[in-house]
Subunit: 493 residues, 2 copies
């Protein structure tokens, strides 16, 4: 049951006042709160939102902040704006249930860019949000063949309680694969299977996870000044403070590391800005970890997708006792296969297994066997190669289209991965996201990824996930993106 | 709107005549019709039902059929029977649609049975620890057929980020299945898929899980004085204090509930001692949850495996807004398929989804689709039926063997489930576990399951998981168990 706007605004107002600090975060907090209210059904479809001025006065924020928030949510498809009828909750948004939430808190952290937003919203015709591979390219036949083989050959014990480390078949396959593809130095018994990167992070930082009842790792944790808000939120929920490291053209400024208790990096391909960590810094961060008696967490989220140069090997290979490498198949295969892995220094293995529990409680054992077969049979490599070619082709088309249609936009971070960053003139990012939305293009601005505590200068830019659309739809998506940039570019110059 | 019994009986009579065929289905049809009438409110709380004889005459069925139906519905808590006052519709039953939730309560968690320890120890030749189904009985062909069908029919979006509620196909299949098999009253959008019972418990109690940054449910949590230590440990790791409720021959002493913030029960089959929660207590605990503004967590860990009597319907059906039912396929299929579900009151759905994350981060989406197909195609029911027969056969062999070889041992809790409890003379449990070990039999004593804070008298006993060994090895396992008990019995007397 939805509540009236008036009641809602009252609650949202007091909650928002608590969290509002800078102008950027006011806007983000307001967007998050409104989106959440629509998503959860607290604001019913068709509800008319108050005029900018009223809400701004109620909340004690600038009118532009409210206007921006409405525009953003219109672009995302949560709200609709029609001349003369004001801004309303879009009709197609439907609450998950018709639940009454009498005490449900209003403001929630703004959903991260990977969020399951209205991907199927009719307003979004082109999904260029980063984070997922082309869902139409999942290797169904190869996967099914591996699954069938694995299932028919599995010993009965597979269907028993399971080992929290993961199936030995998969750990052996991963040890060999990661050595070959990423230069990782490890052994199967230092690999622990999990359900993805977020699961790994939770295992390492959750309270009571360690055998003494404490955490395995503790904050404060140094992170890159630009990164996934989802990870920061997850850490915050575990009580872990994150401290941003500025970025420059050589990657994270690891010389700024001080008394943090660990550091989380994307060394192969900084997410989302795009460069690899400079060789000297790779060495320096491992030295820091040694001196501090701690570890580097290496988020190897897209290490398999390299285009114009030799792959950057995993940082882990510099010192397997000082780096925890975390990877998954979410980008190489699909996030629907909930499998990831942690490659651990020896001294952490027992604690991570204890944190995971006494049995396999998380990762589908049958999927583990299927993935092991996929890797050992060579199908995984073939799929990665095919996707690398496809994504490289998309990257090339993106660069070419922008060079022709929007030459004022600088493209960066395109040597690898599933996304590019389009640098924009200062002050134009927000309007560019809005323009894209009006062209039916969903994507995120760089600001979404910026750590709230960083003092490094902000850069305007768009993060374009070129892997996300199905192959047949990519051309139209590019076209719409260029159209948006042309209008933005005009305004920005 | 309630109607009088007379009017209702007239209609039910004509309806029933249409569907009644054999004696079994008459009884089932009558139970179903009466349950529906009470549930829907057609028969109002407090309505007195006619004597057996009158209804039997009206409907043209045997008196025993009516008596059985009344008894079943009393056991499920729909009706109450009191000397001198006849059979009445229970006061607490409330129709689904009129549920009112004046204030969202603080709420609760639930546990269940899983084994641990050196399953593959060379000294263990016979594994009779409770907690897992026969791993050799996994329905490989049916599962693979469902998996293949699901994978080939899946739309591309399946391979995208995923919905944290779980695949709609699975939630729809579960809603229908649970209604049919367990009497659960719900809808697909109140079901959230998870990776098993422990995951559900973590989602409900973890810090930062709720949208305000707190827990969805808080301790202290009342639990049964005997239960899985794994669950208590998990809750303790989340900072949740558990308070034991004593058990007697009618199940948990829910009259002892006081200021706890929620309660976790195994109403269908107390784990591990074995009895169902008495009908009056079923009603009482729901009343308590209403009065406290909280919920009952129902651990429905083996509800499908009933042998000598009609299944006890889920407690959840008494009040879907006051009970969170948690189930999984860990016992019905295999713990290797990491899938479970939470059936939630409306007011918790959004919070649980927020705690789970913005995407499906846990449960294999492909396994979800396969399970949905398995259920819809009828293969799941066939498998459960086959396993029920098999386990019943094992239960019978256990009882017969003990009656012959170790008549001093009392067997209890055998009407259902995958385990039995062998009651032992006081002071003999530890030596009996040791004797079993010397015969190569792994099993647990009751003491393993006892809450450390309970003041109820301890009972000596062995928990025998008769489902665990493969079929061909069960005879030898029984033989070894009896040999151990004979020596123990001698010492104990």
């Amino acid at each position: 049951m939805a509540e009236s706007w008036v009641n809602y605004a009252e609650r949202i107002g007091s909650d928002l006042h608590l969290e509002l600090s800078g102008p950027g975060s006011r806007r983000a907090a307001l967007i998050g709160a409104l989106r959440d209210a629509v998503r959860s059904g607290r604001l019913a479809p068709g509800t008319r939102l108050p005029p900018y001025r009223s809400l701004a006065a109620d909340l004690g924020v600038a009118r532009n902040t409210v206007a921006d928030a409405y525009a953003e949510l219109v672009a995302e498809g949560w709200l609709t704006a029609r001349q003369g009828s004001g801004t309303r909750v879009a009709e197609r948004t439907r609450p998950l249930s018709t639940a009454v939430h009498p005490k449900a808190p209003a403001a929630t952290p703004a959903p991260h860019p990977r969020a399951r937003g209205p991907r199927r919203s009719p307003a979004i015709r082109h999904d260029l949000r980063q984070g997922t591979p082309d869902a139409s390219s999942f290797p169904r036949s190869a996967w099914l063949a591996s699954y069938r083989r694995a299932l028919s050959q599995a010993p009965n014990e597979v269907f028993g309680p399971g080992d929290p480390a993961g199936r030995p078949e998969l750990r052996a396959a991963l040890a060999a694969y990661l050595a070959r593809a990423r230069g990782v130095r490890t052994e199967p018994d230092r690999i622990v299977v999990c359900s993805g990167f977020a699961h790994a992070l939770r295992l390492l930082f959750k309270g009571g996870g360690g055998r003494g009842g404490g955490q395995i790792l503790r904050g404060p944790l140094a992170v890159e000044a630009y990164g996934l808000p989802f990870h920061r939120d997850l850490l915050a929920a575990e009580g872990v403070r994150t401290v941003p490291l500025p970025l420059d053209e050589h990657g994270a400024r690891v010389d700024r590391l001080g008394r943090e208790r660990a550091v989380l990096l994307t060394p192969a391909h900084q997410f989302p800005t795009g460069g690899p960590l400079h060789a000297e810094r790779r060495a320096a961060v491992v030295d820091w970890a040694r001196a501090r008696g701690t570890v580097v967490l290496e988020d190897d989220y897209d290490g398999e997708f390299r285009y114009d140069r030799r792959p950057v090997g995993a940082l882990q290979s510099l010192d397997p006792e000082r780096v925890i490498l975390i990877g998954s198949v979410s980008k190489s295969l699909s996030p629907a296969v909930r499998l990831g892995w942690m490659v651990l220094p020896e001294r952490y293995v027992a604690d991570v297994l204890a944190a995971k529990g006494e049995r396999e409680a998380w990762a589908s054992v049958l999927d583990q066997l299927a993935l092991a077969d996929l890797i050992v049979s060579g199908s995984y490599d073939r799929h990665v190669r095919r996707m690398r070619q496809r994504y490289r082709g998309r990257r090339d088309r993106l660069v070419a289209a922008l060079a022709e249609r929007a030459p004022h936009v600088e493209v960066s971070g395109v040597a690898a991965g599933l996304h590019a960053v389009l640098r924009l003139p200062p002050g134009t990012e927000r309007s560019a996201v809005g323009d894209a939305g009006r062209q039916g293009v969903a994507l995120d601005g760089l600001a979404e990824f910026r750590h709230p505590d960083t003092d490094m200068p902000a850069h305007d830019g768009l993060v374009v996930g070129y892997a996300t659309p199905p192959e047949h739809a990519y051309g139209a998506a590019l076209e719409a993106l260029c159209a948006a940039l042309v209008s933005s570019g005009t305004r920005g110059s």
